[in-house]
Every structure is written in C-alpha cells, then in structure tokens.
C-alpha cells in the first residue's frame, strides 16, 4: 500500500489574486487563508462549524472555512472580507451599512457576518426580516443581539440603488 499524500500544491484565486502554495493535506482552509496568505480578517472562533466567524465565499457558495480543507479549494475562487471594499479602498455598501447601523461592536464575527449578508442579498435582494434571520443564523454574534445586524441588512434590502 502506498503512503497517502501528505502535502499537495494548490492554486487558488483569493479576492482576484492568484496564489500557488504547497500545503499539508490536513490544513484547514481557514488556517491556509490566515496563516499562509496572511489574510487575518477571516477568523477562527470554534472547532465545530457553528460560529461562522470563518465564513468565506468559495466559487459562489457560502462556506465555513474551518469545515473545508485547503486542498479541496484547489482551482477555486475565494472571496474574503479583505475583498469587500471598493477598489479605491472606500467601504462597500455592506460595510457602510454595518457601520452606519452599529451592527458591529467587537468586530470579530463581522467579516463572516458580512459575507453571509453578501451571499444572502445576491440570492435574494429583497429578503423579509424572517429571511434575513435565516440567512445569518449560521453566524453567531455575542455583542449585538443581532438587532442592528438585521437592521443593517434591511437597509440594503430595501434599497434599489445598492450594488453590493
């Protein structure tokens, strides 16, 4: 029997930039993003896929990056919080709405929460309050009671002018 492969070279596109790295087969995607690519805006908050602070978008799907191996992302396109702002560095409508509505306090869950918001609004531009709550139920926040997060998303959901 041959030894299982312990490491593998992968190629990913993160926030539009291509990276090629050799990673250990067991490296979680969240660790890869944080430690290999030094994109520390994606956070690590639990070991069970519940808290959502590591949420990223992989090939258009909302993913908890602690539940996926880096090698599974080979050839894929990943979007993290660092890719949200406009090219000139100004805040995107989601970032702006989170700040304006005081939808963040400590800011630790915020990157994952904003990516969940982006995914939600891309698939359902006019969600009801119930749909918003379902859309972010996989992302835990201990600071806000979710009130202002829901309000921030509602402000985007009711705004025809917004381009995410």
């Amino acid at each position: 029997m041959s030894e299982p492969v312990k490491s593998q070279t992968i190629r990913v596109v993160v926030n539009g930039r291509e990276y090629t790295r050799t990673v250990e087969a067991r490296t979680l995607l969240v660790r890869f993003i944080r430690e290999e690519l030094n994109l520390t805006g994606t956070h690590f908050g639990c070991d069970t896929g519940h808290c959502g602070s590591c949420t990223v978008i992989v090939n258009g799907r909302l993913i908890k990056s602690c539940m996926m191996l880096a090698i599974q992302a080979d050839g894929m396109s990943i979007e993290t919080v660092e890719g949200l702002a406009n090219p000139d560095g100004s805040l995107s409508p989601i970032q702006d709405a989170f700040s304006a509505h005081h939808a963040l306090q400590c800011g630790f869950c915020t990157p994952g929460m904003m990516l969940a918001t982006k995914y939600l609004l891309e698939h359902n531009p006019h969600p009801t309050e119930e749909e918003i709550r379902r859309g972010i139920k996989g992302n835990l926040c201990r600071c806000t009671g979710y009130v202002n997060i829901v309000k921030a998303i509602q402000s985007l959901a009711n705004n025809e002018e917004v381009t995410l």
């Binding site: 700040s99 005081h102 630790f108």
Partner: protein, 821 residues
Amino acid sequence: MSGTTVTTQQTARTQWSGQSIPRKEDERLVKGQGRFADDIRRHNEAYVYLLRSPYGHARIRRVDVRAAQEAPGVIMTLTGDEVREIQKPFMEIAPPPGGYIEDYCLAVDKVRFMGEPVVAILAETAEQARDAADLVDIEYEPLDAVVTGEDALKDTAPLLHGKVGSNVVWHGLYDWGSVEEAKRQADKIVKIDRLHFHRFTSTPIECNAAVVEYYPGSGEYTFWCNNTMPQFAAMFMGPALGIPTDRLHFVTQDIGGSFGNKITTYVYLTICAILAKKSGRPVHWTEYRTDHILGGSHGNERTFLDIEVPVLNDGTILGLSARAIDDCGAYPRYEPLGSVIWSQVVPGVYRFRNVRIDYTQVVTNKCPVGPNRGYSRLQHMWMLERVIDIVAHELNLDPVEIRKKNYIKPDEMPYETPNGCVYDSGDYPRCLDMALKLINYDYWRQRQAEVRGTGKLIGIGIGSTLDSGTNNFGQARIINPELPFSGNGEVANVKLDLYGEVVVTIGTTPQGQGHETTAAQVVSDILGVSPDRVRVLIGHDNARNVYTGFSGTYASQFAVTGLGAVQGAAQKLKREIQQLAAGMMGSDPEEIELVDGTARVVGRPDTAIPFIGLANVVFANNATMPEGLDVSLNCTYTYRPPFKVPDVERKFGNLTLTYATQIHACVVEVDEATGETKILDYAAVDDSGRLIHPQIVEGQVHGAAGLGIGAALYETLEYDAEGQMLTPNFYAYKAVTALDVPMIKTAAIESPSPFSPNGAKGMGEGGGAPLHAICSALQDVMRQTSRAIVHDSFNPSERVYRLLRQQPSARRGVEVISNRS
C-alpha cells in the same frame, strides 16, 4: 432606536458628546484589518497545546510524556510536577481556611474539573503539538465528584482541597435592619423553599489567545493577548513566577468580546510564560471553542434556600431573608469577590430595609467561574424579581402594581440602601411605564384572555434591574480584611504629538464598547478639534505607562472612570495650551479659546496659532519658549471616584458609584402541547445617566438583552454526577442565534449622575433583565394554568412543559403564612 427621552434634568449639550458619531473603530474592523490576539505572529514562534483532564475529579497517579517528547516537531512538554517546582501557588483572595486552596497553572497531584490542563506541549506547529498530546500516557484514579453547591456542603461530600477541611471558600452573614421585627409587623410571610440560578457563559466568539515572548536581557515577558484586566493578572502572576510585576508587559489590541470571561486568563498566560522562558521561543496559544467552554470562565451558579418574605396585605414588602449557596467551580480565582459584589444591589430597585442573607460560597468539580456579564448582581436581582412575582402570584396582586408600590421613588434619590450604597439617580416607575407602553401592555392583557383555550398561552413579564458600575474595591475587605484595596480609578494621557497631532492613551481593554470613539468625543469638546483628528491608541499596553491597578474594561465603568480620566487629562492639556499660546501671543490664558485645531485670542480670530506651531515650540524649538513657562503638552490624569473604605464589621458602605437602570418588559407565547416559548414582543428601557454616544449605549442594551434571552431559554452549562461536562461546544451549548432574538424595542431616559465627572453612568452589563423578565412572563403563564412556581432561571421547553403539567397536589415549594388570622 425607538427614541431617547430626556428627563427634566436636561444636561447641557456639547458639540460632540451626546452625538452618535460614526465609530472610529469601524473602518478597520469592517475591512478585516482589526488585529486580534491570534493575528499576532512573532519570528520563530512555537505552538502550545494543552492536554486536559477527561475526569471531573481524579488523582493523577502517573504522567508519562516520553513518547510525546519524541514526537515530530515537539520542543518540550510541561507537567504539574515541574510546575510545582517553578511556580508558587497563585494568590487566593479568600482568607483562611478558603485561602489555603493551592491553585497552579497545571494540575498538581489531582484534577478537579473536566478540562483542567494537565500537560502542556510546545511544538513547531499547532498540529504537531496536538498530535503529540495523543502520545501522553496518564494514569488517573477517578474520585467521587461533587457537582452541586448543596451537595458540596454535605458532611459526606468529597473534598476538593484537603487543606481547607471543607468545600467552603467563604461564608458570611449579611444582616441589615431587622428581619425579625419585619416578620412581626407583617400581615403574611411568603416562604419559598428553593430558587436556582443556573450556570451559563457569555463565551465570546474570539476565544482566549496569546503570544508570549521572554527577553532574557531584561527578564521581561511580553504578552500579546486578549486579557481584559491585565494588572489584575499581573498581581497573580508576578508572585507566582517569583518576579516583579513590572517584568510583565501586557499588550492588548482588538479583543473579540469578553463580557468578563477574559479576566481570569492569568492561569493560561502563566503556562505560556513558563514555556517561553524555558524554550527561548515566542509561544503562541489559541483556544479551540471546546477548550474555552470546558476550561475558560463560567458564570456563577447560585441556589437560594429558605426564602422568607414578610409582606403587608397591600403588597408592601418589608424585607427578606434567605440562604445563598454560590458554586464557584473548582478554584476560586476571581472569587470569592462575587460573595460581596452582589451586595452592591441589596434591595434591587425596591424600598424594603430589612435583609438577612446567609451567604456561602463552595467549590465543586466544575470549571472555575469568573466575572460574566452582570456578574454576581444578576443572580441576586433575579432572586428579588422572582420574589416579587411569586408574592404577587400567591397574594393575587398585580405584578405591575406590586412593583410600583415597592419601587424606590424618584424623589427619594439619591437613596441610601440598607447597607450604605447610594443610588445616584433614576426614575423606575417612569421607565416601567415606558416599557409597558412599548410592548403595548393593554393590548396583550386583552389578547391573553382571548387566546385561552386555543392551545397557546400568553404571558407578560417585567424585569426591573440595576447595572451598578464603578466598583469601590474596598468591598473586597468585607471578604478579607487583610486585602489592601479600596476605591477605583483609571488613567489617561492626552498630548500634542511632535507635529501637533492630538493623541489619547487610556489603560482600558475595550472589546466593542467603542472607547476610541467616546474618548475622542470628550477630547474634541475640550480641545476644539473634530473626533477624526483625535487619535486614540488601541488597547492596553503598560509600556505606554498609562495604567492603574484597576485598569481594564469590566464592571460597567468606562463612561465614569475611563472618560473621567480622559476629561481630566484633556482639561490639563487645554490649560497648558492656553498658557503657552497666551505667552506666545502676549495675552491672558483665560482669553485663549481652542477652535478647529488652533489656539486663538477670543474676539480676534486672526490672532491664532495652530497646534503644530505650539508643538514645535515645546518639542523642537524650545529656546523660543516664553519665559517662565513650564509646559509639556503631555498631560496625564488619574480619575479617582469619591469613595471611602467600607465598614467591614457592619458590611456597610458605598460599594459602587453609579446605578444605571434597566427595566425590561416582554410578551411570550407558550405552546401548551410542547412548552415551547416564543417571544412576541420585547422592550428595554434604560437610564444610563447622561449619554455620551446614544447609539453605543443602545447597542450595549441590545447585546445584554440578546445574551440574557439566550441564558433564559437556550444556554446552559450542564454536568453529570461524575463531573462530565455535557455541553462543551456549540453542538451542545446552544448559543443564541438571529432566529432566537426578536427586534428589541428600546427607549432611554437620562437622569444624570450627580457623582460622576460627566453625569454619565457606567453601563453595559444589563443586570440580567431578560432572565428576570422571561421568568416573570412564564410565571404569568402559570398563573393561568397549573399555578406552578418558576423556580429556575433556565426554562427550556421541557421545563416549561413540566411546569404546565404540575399537579395541584404536587409540592409547589411555596407557602403563605398568615400572621394575624
């Protein structure tokens, strides 16, 4: 925000304070540019993994780390036997015999809770450290465990700490007024057998983490960490490591929530310090969620027994007596401070004057507790609110009327409580009326009758509570008269930097409370610059030399202590600027006004010097300094609240400076078939004195309400009889989600504190109001059905289901005795 209502005691408006300006913290946080503890990387760092006890209580027979030491990447291991040689036991706050407890950073000889660290492994990668842990061979001899406070007091109970001779950490009798006299005067005495406040945790989304580096050249350790009370940690760690505390350099930056839970991490930081020194490597430690829930910091569990409440027929409550048993888990650590901290709010919001509480704190085979949002006061105020509702229930009185009858009246403020605490200001009846209006109380009372018989039941509940802020640490002497503590305080530095930039440094450790923003608002008003031109340094760093022994962020105090210090420092700087500018422009300091980053002579806007010009004279051009002046433009101020040392014998004195009010009201719907409880409407009215940033205050109200709702209905830390934890991760610990918290309606009144430097009151903890309000609403449901008593602070569907079905013949645990029948 549903609206802020300003009371008649309106405060003077200023340009920046009082406005909800955009938070200075937000831009970096929404861009993912925050710097949290696990984001820190040091060259050549190594990783720590902690192997934890699988037993609640066991003797450690043998630890064999040889195979682990040989594993790939392993640098070293650390065991309890080694720690015993390196570390002195941490200081204990309790006097003997509770103070005989020996607490080390790793288990020595015995493990006393599931999750207690037993072996630390340092390796080149986090994965290698974790892998090596599988190779550690430990022989345990399991011992009987004790997992409830009541059992811990039994003669037959297993002892956790042999030297103490019992499981009691601290015992004290609190007795004010005369409960016996009140019982003689009463028409009735309501007796409640037992109320139980459950164990839960705020468990912030960022777990504990640290990068620790030892520099042999100076003997200094640097902790890049998320501890939220670093100088408290230093007080434990310095003596334990046998080094002066000034060799402990703490650096905090962004912190991903704490809620008090990150105060007692000194145990883990000590492990990291030992490994860093021994290995010569920077060491990196980050908890997994399971580590955090198993071995982090839990909230205090408290059982109240034999509660007796003397009342008059009209519902006037004359007093209260009870026994309280507080379960602090396996090691006291911050405890037994909670055994006095509850007495900041002895009568809650009520007027009764006769109180006797026989208070005992015990150890059990569970994770150590630590401060947890609402710390120690919420347990007590929950009990008081249960008493109010149970008295109303048993005497068939209206829950609103009985509260209003017993509330301290606004014209009695400032109000001295039976134990000498002074409630600074407030208007409880008005807050209650506002809360009831927000939930549309009359409508729901009507609906309540209409839905009877449909399978649904509606309950309306009230939680009236206080958020006491700015501790007088002198209260620690009531626990242990030998402790050299009293008062409180925070320090701030405000300066002009070399090119006239305004820079603020504070000793606090914010975790979302927006200190950078509110500090900038205060400085802006004093120095005449906009907040975006005020730089507030992030976090606590004792190398900046701006801290006191109290520095940190905890216990609802920043608006008073932190902003009090900022205000004092900014005013000092303003005086220096006025002196310097007056000297340079040949006028009087009183004639100098600060406008838009310049100092100018009043009435002569063209005669002005920009801050850069002032800074130039002091920092780079001082031969031009006006003669006779001695200014630094670098001003430090320590705010010290007006406290005295409490009377230890009488357990009497002012224990906190400010008392913010939280009055919550809620409507719940209970499914009779399942016991499932759904919140239909929820309102929170707060009075935090003068508001510096209304949006931030409202955010704190929301957050405290969210965690409280979670605790009331979903979140519990459960152990089985052997001390096995049943809820050690987010699979089993059901952290409240967006689906569980309703749109909380809010309103605020502002009763400025006469005691704080700015009229503000500390706030943020919330006093556990949702626990009180939801239990109250469930009692209102039981009033319509089984007449069961809501006796626990945790009420998941299955408990509500059982309460609904409690037979009339069942023991209800409550009795009303008539004094004059």
